[in-house]
C-alpha cells in the first residue's frame, strides 16, 4: 500500500505515468466515469480549505465513487481530543482512501503509520502540499511541454508557503531548472530548502527582492499569497501583504510565452486585469488539479483502466 505524503514519494518516472493518466482522463473522461464505483474517499479536513477539499471530492465523484468526511476540526472528533492515530484507525473502517489536511506539520505521516488505507497529504501546516505540487507539475508539463530547461520565479511568501517548498523539492529532480526566489527578506525560503534541497542538489538559484528586475528571465512565474493565518502578528501581515503585486505593467516585461501560475486563492497579489492575459493559467491549473487527483486516486487504489 502506498501513501502520498511528500512530492518525493513518487519517482520522476512514476510522476510521468501519473501525468500521462491525468492527460488521458482529460481527453476521455467517460472512460473513467465508473472505475471507482463502490469506493469511498474520506476527506479529513482539520482546517478549512474549500478548493482542495472540493477538488478531491470532485475527483472521486468523477470516477463514480462517493465521498464522506469533515471540513473543520470543530466538526470532527478532534474537538473531543481524539488523536490523529485513533481517527485514522476509525476512518480506515469506513473508507477506501483518505485525503487529510491538518494545521500541524507531520499529521498525515502519523495517520499513514496507523492506517490500513492509503493516506494523501492534502496540506500539513507550512510543511508539504504534494497534490498541489502534482497539479503545478501537470500544468507546467501540459502547457509548456516540458519540466526541464526552465527558469521558474517563485514570488511572495516563500517562508511559510508550503506549495513553494513542495514545488522546489519536486523540480530539483529535473535537468537544468533554474530558480529565482523573489520575496521580502522576512519571507525568504527556510534554510533547509536553500541548503539541503537547492544547494544539495546543485540547483542554480538566486534570491532577489524585486519582481520587476527578473520578469524578462522567467519561463514560469509562480505567485503566492501572503497568508494571514501564518502570521503571529496582524501588523506584520498588513505591512507585508502588498509587497509583490503582479499587474499588467509588470506583465509587459515578461516573455510572450511565460506562464503565470498561482495555487489560489489569491487576495490581491495578482490584479484582476491580468486574468484576461492568455499567459495567466491559474484557473486552468484548477482543472488540471482535478485530473491529477483522479489519476492519483486510481494509482493509490491500484485500479488499472
Amino acid at each position: 500500500m502506498r501513501h502520498l505524503l511528500n512530492p518525493l514519494d513518487f519517482s520522476v518516472e512514476e510522476l510521468d505515468e501519473l501525468m500521462d493518466v491525468a492527460l488521458d482522463i482529460s481527453k476521455n473522461p467517460q472512460k473513467y466515469a465508473e472505475c471507482c464505483k463502490g469506493k469511498k474517499i474520506a476527506t479529513l479536513f482539520y482546517e478549512p480549505s474549500t478548493r482542495t477539499r472540493l477538488s478531491f471530492e470532485a475527483a472521486m465523484l468523477n470516477l463514480g465513487g462517493s465521498v464522506l468526511g469533515f471540513s473543520s476540526a470543530a466538526s470532527s472528533s478532534a474537538a473531543k481530543g481524539e488523536s490523529v492515530a485513533d481517527t485514522i484507525r476509525m476512518v480506515s473502517c469506513y473508507a477506501d482512501i483518505c485525503a487529510m489536511r491538518h494545521p500541524k506539520e507531520g499529521a498525515p505521516l502519523v495517520a499513514s503509520l496507523n492506517s490500513s488505507i492509503p493516506v494523501i497529504n492534502a496540506g500539513d501546516g507550512g510543511h508539504q502540499h504534494p497534490t498541489q505540487t502534482l497539479t503545478d507539475l501537470m500544468t507546467i508539463r501540459s502547457l509548456k511541454g516540458r519540466l526541464n530547461n526552465i527558469t521558474i520565479g517563485l514570488c511572495g511568501d516563500l517562508k511559510f508557503g508550503r506549495t513553494v517548498h513542495s514545488l522546489i523539492n519536486a523540480l530539483v529532480r529535473y535537468d537544468n531548472v533554474r530558480f529565482i526566489l523573489i520575496s521580502p527578506n522576512e519571507l525568504r525560503v527556510p534554510d533547509y530548502i536553500r541548503q539541503e534541497v537547492l544547494t544539495g542538489n546543485h540547483a542554480e538559484f538566486k534570491e532577489v527582492t524585486q519582481l520587476e528586475d527578473v520578469m524578462p528571465e522567467l519561463d514560469i512565474l509562480y505567485m503566492t499569497r501572503v497568508q494571514r493565518e501564518r502570521f503571529f502578528n496582524e501588523e506584520e501581515y498588513i505591512r507585508m501583504k502588498d509587497c509583490y503585486i503582479l499587474d499588467a505593467k509588470k506583465m509587459e516585461l515578461a516573455k510572450p510565452d511565460m506562464l503565470v501560475l498561482h495555487p489560489l486563492p489569491r487576495v490581491n497579489e495578482i490584479s484582476v486585469e491580468v486574468d484576461k492575459d492568455p499567459r495567466a493559467v491559474y484557473f486552468k491549473q484548477v482543472q488540471f488539479g482535478v485530473y491529477i487527483r483522479m489519476a492519483l486516486i486510481l494509482k493509490l487504489l491500484e485500479i488499472q483502466v
Partner: protein, 140 residues
C-alpha cells in the same frame, strides 16, 4: 583523590565532558537498570582538564551506543572483562534517535499529541543535522 573500585565486568564511559554525566545517566536510562553504576564527576584529566566518567556493571549490548553517539561521539567506550580493558567501541552518529530530544517547532504534530514518539532522523552526516521525522524541522 577519590578512588572508585575497579570494574570486573562492564563498560566504562570515559572522557565525558565535565558536568554531563548525569544527563547521560538519564538519556541512557541507567536509572531503570538494577546493576551497579558509578558516576564520577570532575575527575582530573590531562586531555580535558576535568571530565566525567560513568562505570556500569553491564554488558555492552545493553548500552544504547546510538544515543551516546548523538550526545557526544568523543566519549570513549571501554569494554571491561576480568578487570581489564578488552575492547573499545567507536561512536558514530546514529541514523535515527527516538525519545531523546524533543521537537521545538510549535507547528509540529508532536506539539499537540504528546504520546507520539519523538523521532529524529540524521539528514546530513557531515554537519550532524537531525530533523524531526514529522515536520522536518532541524534540531538545534
Amino acid at each position: 583523590m577519590l578512588n572508585v573500585g575497579k570494574l570486573n565486568e562492564g563498560v566504562v564511559l570515559d572522557h565525558i565532558k565535565a558536568g554531563k554525566a548525569m544527563d547521560i545517566y538519564r538519556d541512557l536510562k541507567l536509572d531503570k537498570i538494577d546493576n551497579c553504576v558509578a558516576i564520577i564527576k570532575n575527575a582530573r584529566s590531562d586531555k580535558m582538564g576535568k571530565k566525567d566518567i560513568i562505570k556500569i556493571e553491564t554488558s555492552i549490548d545493553s548500552i544504547d551506543l546510538d544515543i551516546l553517539g548523538f550526545i557526544d561521539h568523543n566519549i570513549t567506550v571501554n569494554i571491561i572483562k576480568d578487570g581489564e580493558i578488552v575492547g573499545k567501541k567507536n561512536l558514530t552518529l546514529p541514523k535515527k534517535i527516538v525519545n531523546v530530544i524533543k521537537c521545538k517547532n510549535p507547528r509540529c504534530i508532536t506539539s499537540i499529541e504528546q504520546e507520539l514518539e519523538q523521532v529524529f532522523v540524521l539528514t546530513n552526516e557531515e554537519d550532524a543535522v537531525y530533523r524531526c521525522m514529522y515536520c522536518e524541522e532541524k534540531y538545534s
